[in-house]
Structures are given as structure tokens and as C-alpha cells.
């Protein structure tokens, strides 16, 4: 993956002059897989990650409308993956960075060129939202933005299920609580428009991949658990992830010693089983992200037809 800038030079100058040409959409580029530039979101999970990013953008748009008190349209033009530092370099300086930390998962940040940030602050303060010169925020503007960040964190928690905390507004710097400079992130190219201003304004939304891949806890599908969804959805269930490795002989077992490799007759793309109380609920293939392990689900247990899918103890296996 190269560091292809998301904003073309003409768009950057348009952002700076507050005069983006309308409809100058940036096309989503195909995402090649490269061993030198590993993706944080594997190809099989891209669609799902983009869907969650779209929900984050919807929540952002809703918040902007409610806090600005007028119609603000926010759209996601494209999602790419790039390193945090490279994303920062694509936005015209000084870059206003509005970060939210989400614990060990990383975080997310809105990168705004000053020419977009200043009119937004005007909107939040009830002003006209006019053009603005490229400059960093004043102390008052930073306080306004930090109060708005707290609202953003609450909106994300409520609408998207992301637990994030507001941090300080920065200029030209992404805090490590969001991402390290060389960390690959999902980067959304946003377009913002509000009626008084006309034209499109571009901004970047950086999101740690874990926040797009992990939906643990919130947002169970409402129909999946029926009327008991609310109380049951959060009940923790112990699951065991298992690779069925065939059969091994006593001779093999007696030869086990450190560094000895036992080869199984199981292809490397064979799915693992996810078991609950001995029942196979899911099967998935192993994928490795930089600092975590994920299973890409290839099969899930049906409602009733597969009720007999319990793992039967094989001969000699303890019940």
C-alpha cells in the first residue's frame, strides 16, 4: 500500500481557500495487499469495517446538526488504510486534530484543516460559519472544541457502541492514545456541507481498526434474542476456540519434547470451531492482525436444523 494522498493537491488548495469545487469526489482506490505494508483490516473484513465507519459518520453528522443548530450534511466519500503519520501529512497545515481515546483499542480522531475548523467553531458559537484564515485554535476555541468532543464521545457510545473519552485538541499531532505515527488506521474521507456556506469541505476521520472490527457488547441484532434481548445481550458466555487436529498415536505422544513439531493432517486454511458448552456454534478461519487474533466466520449454527451439531466424544474421549 503506498502513501497515496487522499486529498489531491487541487482539493487541498480548495480546502484552504474555502472553495472546494462541488462534486469533486475522490474515487475509492482498490486496496492491494502488501506484505511490506500490512493492512490492519484484512480484505475479508473490509466491507464490515466500512459499514461500521459509515455508522460513525452518520453519528457525527447527527451530532453536527444538533450542536450547530442547522442543517449540516456529512458524507463518507472513501475509506482507505494508511499509517497515521501519512494521513496527517495529507491535510493542509495547520491540522486541527480532535482526538478521542478508546482505551487499549486505540481511538479515533477528526482531522480538520483550519479553513474548515474555524467555520465549524463559528457554527457552534452561533456565528455565520464564514471563511477563515489558516491558523491554529485560540484557547477559547480549543475549549469549545473540547466541550464538543465530550458530546461526540457520548454520541458514539450511545449510537455506535464505542466507549471513547474526550482528550485535548491538538495541532499537527495525533496523540498516542489514538495511534502511533506508523500504525495503520482506517481513514475515511469526509465531505461536509452546510447551507449557508455552499460547496464541499473535506476532512479526514481516523479510526483504529479494532473499533471497526469489534462490536463486542453493544448493538446485538434486535431480532436475534427476541424480547429478552436487552437483559440477555450482555451476559458473558464462555467460548473455546478449537482446531480439530485428527488423531495422534501413543508413539507420537511419547516423543513429545520441547521444539518437537507434531504435524497434523489439517490444511492451513481449515476452520476453527467456536464451542459453547461443547456445542459448535461457529466455525471460522484464523486471521492475524498486527496485535490480535481474529476468526473470520465461515459458518454459524442454524436455528433448529443443526441442533444435533454437538461435538460427540470420540472413542476414548472423556465425556
Amino acid at each position: 500500500m503506498g502513501h497515496e494522498p487522499l486529498l489531491r493537491p487541487e482539493e487541498v488548495s480548495g480546502v484552504l481557500s474555502s472553495d472546494d469545487p462541488p462534486g469533486a469526489a475522490v474515487e475509492a482506490q482498490p486496496q492491494p495487499y502488501s506484505l511490506r505494508e500490512p493492512l490492519a483490516i484484512p480484505p475479508a473484513s473490509q466491507e464490515r469495517a466500512q459499514a461500521k465507519l459509515e455508522r460513525i459518520v452518520e453519528a457525527l453528522g447527527s451530532l453536527l446538526r444538533s450542536t450547530a443548530g442547522r442543517e449540516v450534511e456529512v458524507t463518507l466519500d472513501a475509506m482507505q488504510q494508511m499509517r497515521a503519520g501519512a494521513a496527517l501529512d495529507t491535510v493542509a497545515s495547520p491540522v486541527w486534530v480532535l482526538p478521542l481515546a478508546a482505551g487499549s483499542a486505540g481511538g479515533l480522531a477528526l482531522l480538520l484543516p483550519a479553513a474548515l475548523a474555524l467555520p465549524l467553531v463559528d457554527l457552534w458559537l452561533g456565528g455565520p460559519g464564514g471563511k477563515a484564515e489558516p491558523r491554529p485554535p485560540t484557547a477559547v476555541e480549543s475549549r469549545v472544541l473540547e466541550r464538543w468532543l465530550a458530546s461526540w464521545a457520548e454520541t458514539l457510545r450511545r449510537r455506535v457502541g464505542i466507549e471513547a473519552q474526550a482528550t485535548s485538541v491538538l495541532v499537527g499531532e495525533i496523540p498516542r492514545s489514538v495511534a502511533a505515527s506508523d500504525e495503520p488506521l482506517a481513514v475515511g474521507l469526509l465531505r461536509l456541507r452546510w447551507s449557508e456556506q455552499g460547496g464541499d469541505r473535506s476532512a479526514l476521520l481516523l479510526v483504529a481498526p479494532a473499533l471497526l472490527l469489534d462490536e463486542a457488547g453493544p448493538l446485538p441484532r434486535p431480532d436475534a434474542l427476541g424480547p429478552l434481548a436487552e437483559p440477555l445481550a450482555g451476559v458473558p458466555v464462555a467460548v473455546r476456540v478449537v482446531l480439530r487436529a485428527g488423531r495422534v498415536s501413543v508413539a507420537d505422544l511419547l516423543e513429545l519434547e520441547p521444539e518437537k513439531i507434531l504435524r497434523f493432517d489439517v490444511a492451513e486454511d481449515a476452520p476453527f470451531e467456536v464451542r459453547v458448552e461443547g456445542e459448535v456454534c461457529l466455525r471460522g478461519r484464523l486471521e492475524r492482525a498486527p496485535d490480535k487474533t481474529v476468526l473470520s466466520v465461515v459458518w454459524r449454527r442454524g436455528a433448529a436444523k443443526n441442533a444435533g451439531a454437538r461435538v460427540k466424544p470420540e472413542e476414548g474421549e472423556r465425556p
Binding site: A44, S45, R48, A210, D214, E215, A216, G217, L219, R221, L225, A233, G234, P236, V237, A238, V239, R240, V241, V242, L243, A245, G246, R247, V248, S249, V250, A251, L253, L254, L256, P258, E259, K260, I261, L262, R263, F264, D265, V266, A270, V274, V276, L282, L286, E287, R288, D291, K292, T293, V294, L295, S296, V297, W299, R300, E315, G316, E317, R318
Partner: protein, 91 residues
């Protein structure tokens, strides 16, 4: 154990599994997972896994790929586990 009995014993096979991870997942999350979606595990990708024979953990090690197949590289063995596997065979 005589030599003849030992030889016969060596050919006996047991079902084996590798336990990759044990996690607690919210029920809502579990039932909503669909093919194509991912279940993120808290496990370190290079962390240890367990070789389990007849339901008994016998060794700790790591998953490896050998000629396109999964394999298990032993780090430590569990003597007690081996003894229990033998016990299970006799029961």
C-alpha cells in the same frame, strides 16, 4: 510392561485438538455473528496454545504451518496429562 505389549500400545491413536483460546463473549455478540464477520479474540497471535488429547492437555506450544498444514511446536509437556491419557485408555 513387556516389550510386545508396549509395541501394540504405541499404535493406539487418540483424538487430538489444539485449544487456541478461551474467551468470554457477550451473548448478544455471539448470536449476532454472521458468516463474513469476524470474532476478535483477546489472544496474542503468538501466544501459547494447548495440545489436548482425549480431553486432557498434554503440552503447551505454538501453532505452526508445515507444508501447508497445521502443526504444533512443543514448548513444554505435561507429564501428568500424558499419564491421564494413558489412564483413560485403560478405563
Amino acid at each position: 510392561m513387556s516389550e510386545g505389549k508396549k509395541d501394540a500400545f504405541l499404535d493406539i491413536e487418540f483424538p487430538a485438538e489444539v485449544w487456541l483460546a478461551e474467551e468470554r463473549v457477550p451473548l448478544g455478540r455471539l448470536v449476532s455473528l454472521q458468516p463474513g464477520e469476524v470474532l476478535e479474540l483477546g489472544k496474542d497471535p503468538d501466544g501459547p496454545v494447548q495440545l489436548v488429547v482425549s480431553g486432557v492437555p498434554v503440552a503447551t506450544g505454538e501453532l505452526v504451518i508445515v507444508d501447508g498444514h497445521f502443526g504444533f511446536r512443543v514448548k513444554t509437556t505435561t507429564t501428568q496429562g500424558l499419564a491421564r491419557a494413558e489412564e483413560a485408555r485403560h478405563s
